[in-house]
């Protein structure tokens, strides 16, 4: 039964990811004084791509063709770890938050290799930039995560969320710092403005897009879906760790239903905030990213120190 719900939750995660992307797009469009495509548009895009005949470069190796599947599955696995509507599911015990970061690393590893596979300058450029940014983002992210896991003394996300729920609403400076650090990292890792521009048409400025310039058809669909999933994953991580209220603690249909409604509500609000933030700033120069992520790291560190100094029981 628990396994069933866990699988259901993961499926829901995967299924809802394009919806979040569609909603985010809609929010951004409204802020740009224009009507938006339907929130279901990402689904249409994915469906269409799966119906196309993929074109693969003659230089590509097996890695290029298999990479989308690997990237997609790794992202799904990461998603299975994160409690979406309920805590205490068996999947979150099979891997903790560090493994989740590991899955991201796994997906990124193959995406970067796929970028290098066809031997174009753009692919290499994307890979190089992606690996650079991620190597700066990862410590910042772990710093933020450590703050939380040390408070809850577990790296198991489900337990951590339960812990926060038990504690009730307490204003902890360490959590505030960690929250901001995690938001900054999430923006960098999901390739949003100001770090990357997901809608850019300029090859030379791209990061994520540059690696997938060669992909088409179902391969592209999988990679796009994986990146939408990643966006949602970070959203859920932020929403459920810092504001876990509403998440189902028992597996009754009612609790699960509330859990679903709660997370949808939280993500919708997060998307609005993200859209507003993205409207407000221009993309930064590439070599400002280390300052940005350094700041995120610093926030994480501050969170950690404030936990140690102010909050620890001893």
């Amino acid at each position: 039964m628990n396994w069933l719900i866990a699988i259901l939750q993961t499926t829901l995660f995967v299924a809802l990811a394009p919806l979040l992307a569609g909603w985010l797009k809609r929010c951004k469009c409204y802020l740009q004084n224009r009507k938006a495509p339907s929130v279901l548009q990402p689904y249409r895009d994915l469906l269409k791509l799966t119906n196309k005949q993929p074109v693969v470069s003659e230089q590509a190796s097996w890695l290029f063709i298999k990479a989308p599947y690997i990237i997609f599955s790794a992202t799904i696995l990461a998603a299975s770890v994160v409690p979406l509507i309920a805590v205490d599911l068996p999947t979150s015990a099979s891997a903790d938050v560090i493994v989740m970061v590991g899955f991201f690393a796994f997906a990124r590893f193959f995406l970067a290799l796929a970028g290098l596979d066809v031997g174009t300058a753009f692919g290499g450029m994307g890979s190089s930039r992606e690996m650079t940014i991620s190597s700066l983002a990862e410590p910042a992210m772990l710093m933020a995560v450590f703050t939380i896991t040390m408070t809850a003394s577990t790296t198991n996300l489900s337990w951590a969320i339960s812990h926060v729920l038990e504690q009730g609403l307490v204003l902890r400076p360490s959590f505030v710092f960690a929250l901001f650090a995690l938001i900054l990292v999430a923006v960098a890792e999901t390739g949003r403005i100001p770090v990357d521009n997901p809608t850019t048409h300029l090859e030379l400025t791209m990061i994520h897009e540059a690696m997938i310039l060669e992909y088409s058809g179902r391969h592209l669909a999988l990679i796009e879906w994986a990146s939408q999933l990643k966006l949602m994953l970070y959203g859920v991580l932020i929403a459920n760790i810092f504001l876990p209220w509403g998440i189902a603690q028992s597996f009754t249909p009612q609790a699960l239903g509330y859990g679903l409604l709660a997370i949808i509500g939280k993500l919708a609000v997060l998307a609005i905030i993200l859209a507003i933030a993205e409207t407000l700033v221009a993309k930064m120069r590439l070599f400002r990213v280390q300052e940005y992520l350094g700041f995120a790291y610093l926030l994480g560190l501050l969170g950690m120190l404030s936990h140690i100094i102010l909050e620890a029981s001893r």
């Binding site: 300058a121 030379l204 400025t205 409207t279 221009a282 993309k283 120069r285």
Partner: protein, 536 residues
């Protein structure tokens, strides 16, 4: 007393001062009938002095403006135009067609480099001592020993079924471990014109950038031959779609000079309104595009919104969103009614107000500022060395504007301030555009106020054979030069338009140098050269 007189008195030795009076027909072999360029002195020199003149000219701080050639039976006439203090002159020489050689001016003027290579590709004139004799306009569509602008080359040419790609162009190489090349284009990722950029880079560090243009070479110079004035005006309006008014005006001005036609004052004012409105429309688009390249969508959407409103007024008043074919030889094709004037005035008020709002919001945005300031720096020295014009030059302290310095109707009847910045970065080019919009708004208001009554066109007089004209106007990118010579029966014998992009493109290679690869698109956008106007 302008500089030409002084120059002549000092360097009279090898410049034949009598030459301007000598009819061009002498060289071309037609009926000798004199029609000098009425606003511009023509100095004829011997071919052996060609380079020597350039050396003298550069010492006298003359700006190299344009270069073109034409065939006259057994001879090639090669022209180069220079400017100083708003006074232009055309240098001319004749060379033997059996052994077409000329000492290069590109050894002296960097700006002459590509122009001479173009002439070399189109006419087969060899420029002796040219620092870079690789082909430029020619890719693979015609053979090495074919020269499209020679008279014996048919308009249809002898094209292959499929023109092979121009893969083996000899790009400047980067040596050293780890240097790699980034080829970009001709099909760019955005909705942009085609052109190829080749970077030598190490990671994000740009070692060198080389432009390879010519992809949109449409043979404009060749297909212009034999056209009627109306038809040429249509063609000129399509040299570069964003500067349709500018090019059309320059071409019409040249033809009107050649035919000795004076357009009615009302037509001139309407042309002025058209040109300034075109400038505003393009600047709005450019400013939006610069913001878009740094992912600042708010500004892009606002600017494109204003541009759209602006274009809709174009459509309702002048019948064409981009103002194509409104300017015709002899005047303009559409009059502006009282109502239209009111509409135009209201439009200006609206734009000024909206723009003020947007600029306030933009000005406070530090993330945008960080992207634009100090990026894509073009020093005033390099700008001057390449003879950069328009907003690119004006953002780097090049205080020159045809409208003010070599004025023509209707600009001679109004006063205005030329926008100028000297920081030379992308932000400067952004703010120069903003200033120019404000100046143009004022100009439009003045033109509407001063708009004289009367006809909007005059009858055309067929020009005599070999009558020439040189139209010089200020398009939104800067100075446009258009040279026209007539054949018999009202037909065009030679048409050469020099888009400002031709002199502005080379500085892009310089201004990206201390920037990283991902900043190139916004550098390019801040320059916004026309590919079509460059390739012809």
């Amino acid at each position: 007393m302008n500089w030409t007189t002084i120059f002549l008195t000092q360097h009279v030795g090898w410049i034949d001062p009598e030459m301007p009076d000598k009819p061009i027909g002498d060289y071309i072999g037609g009926v000798a009938h004199h029609s000098p360029l009425n606003n511009v002195a023509v100095w004829q020199i011997e071919d052996k002095h060609w380079q020597q003149f350039a050396i003298t000219a550069v010492a006298e701080n003359l700006r190299w403006v344009a270069g073109w050639a034409e065939q006259a039976n057994e001879q090639f006439i090669v022209n180069a135009s220079f400017e100083k203090n708003g006074v232009y002159m055309v240098l001319r020489t004749a060379i033997n067609a059996s052994k077409p050689e000329l000492p290069s001016q590109a050894t002296v003027y960097p700006a002459a480099n590509r122009s001479e290579r173009h002439t070399q590709d189109m006419f087969g004139i060899h420029f002796i001592g040219h620092p870079d004799n690789r082909r430029w306009t020619r890719h693979q569509a015609w053979d090495k020993h074919q020269y499209p602008l020679r008279k014996d080359f048919p308009v249809q040419g002898e094209p292959a079924e499929i023109t092979p790609p121009d893969m083996h162009y000899d790009f400047v190489k980067g040596y050293g471990a780890g240097v790699y090349e980034i080829p970009v284009g001709p099909v760019h990722a955005g909705i942009i014109e085609p052109g190829h950029f080749r970077f030598q880079a190490v990671g994000e560090l740009i070692l060198n950038l080389e432009e390879r243009l010519g992809y949109v070479h449409k043979g404009i110079e060749k297909i212009a031959e034999g056209r009627t004035p109306e038809s040429l005006a249509r063609l000129a309006g399509r040299i570069s779609g964003d500067t349709t008014v500018g090019h059309c005006w320059a071409a019409c001005m040249a033809m009107e000079q050649a035919a000795g036609v004076e357009i009615p004052s009302r037509a001139a004012f309407i042309r002025g309104i058209l040109a300034e409105r075109e400038r505003i429309a393009n600047h709005l688009g450019d400013m939006g595009a610069i913001c878009n390249d740094v992912a600042f969508t708010f500004a892009q959407m606002q600017f494109t919104r204003l541009r759209e409103l602006w274009l809709r007024t174009h459509a309702s008043v002048f019948g064409h969103r981009l103002l194509m074919d409104v300017i015709i030889p002899t005047g303009v094709s559409r009059d502006v009614s009282e109502q239209s004037c009111e509409l135009l005035k209201k439009d200006s008020v609206m734009l000024r107000k909206e723009l003020a709002d947007i600029m306030t919001a933009i000005d406070l945005n530090s993330s945008l500022e960080d992207r634009l300031y100090t990026a894509g720096y073009l020093s005033p020295d390099i700008a001057a060395a390449f003879g950069t014009v328009g907003y690119v030059g004006r953002a780097s302290g090049q205080n020159f504007d045809v409208r003010r310095d070599a004025t023509y109707p209707p600009y001679d009847q109004v006063t205005f301030k030329v926008a100028l910045e000297d920081q030379g970065d992308i932000a400067s080019r952004f703010w120069v555009r903003h200033k120019e919009i404000n100046a143009s708004l004022k100009l439009i208001e003045q033109f509407i106020q001063l708009l004289p009554e009367g006809e909007i066109s005059t009858p055309w007089t067929t020009p005599t054979i070999d009558s020439e004209g040189l139209g010089i106007v200020d398009g939104f990118r800067g100075e446009i030069i258009s040279y026209v010579r007539f054949d018999t029966d009202n037909k065009i014998a030679r048409f050469y338009p020099r888009d400002p992009s031709i002199v502005n493109w080379p500085v892009l290679e310089k201004l990206v140098l201390n920037n990283i690869v991902p900043d190139f698109p916004v550098c390019n956008k801040s320059l916004n050269g026309s590919y079509s106007g460059n390739d012809l």
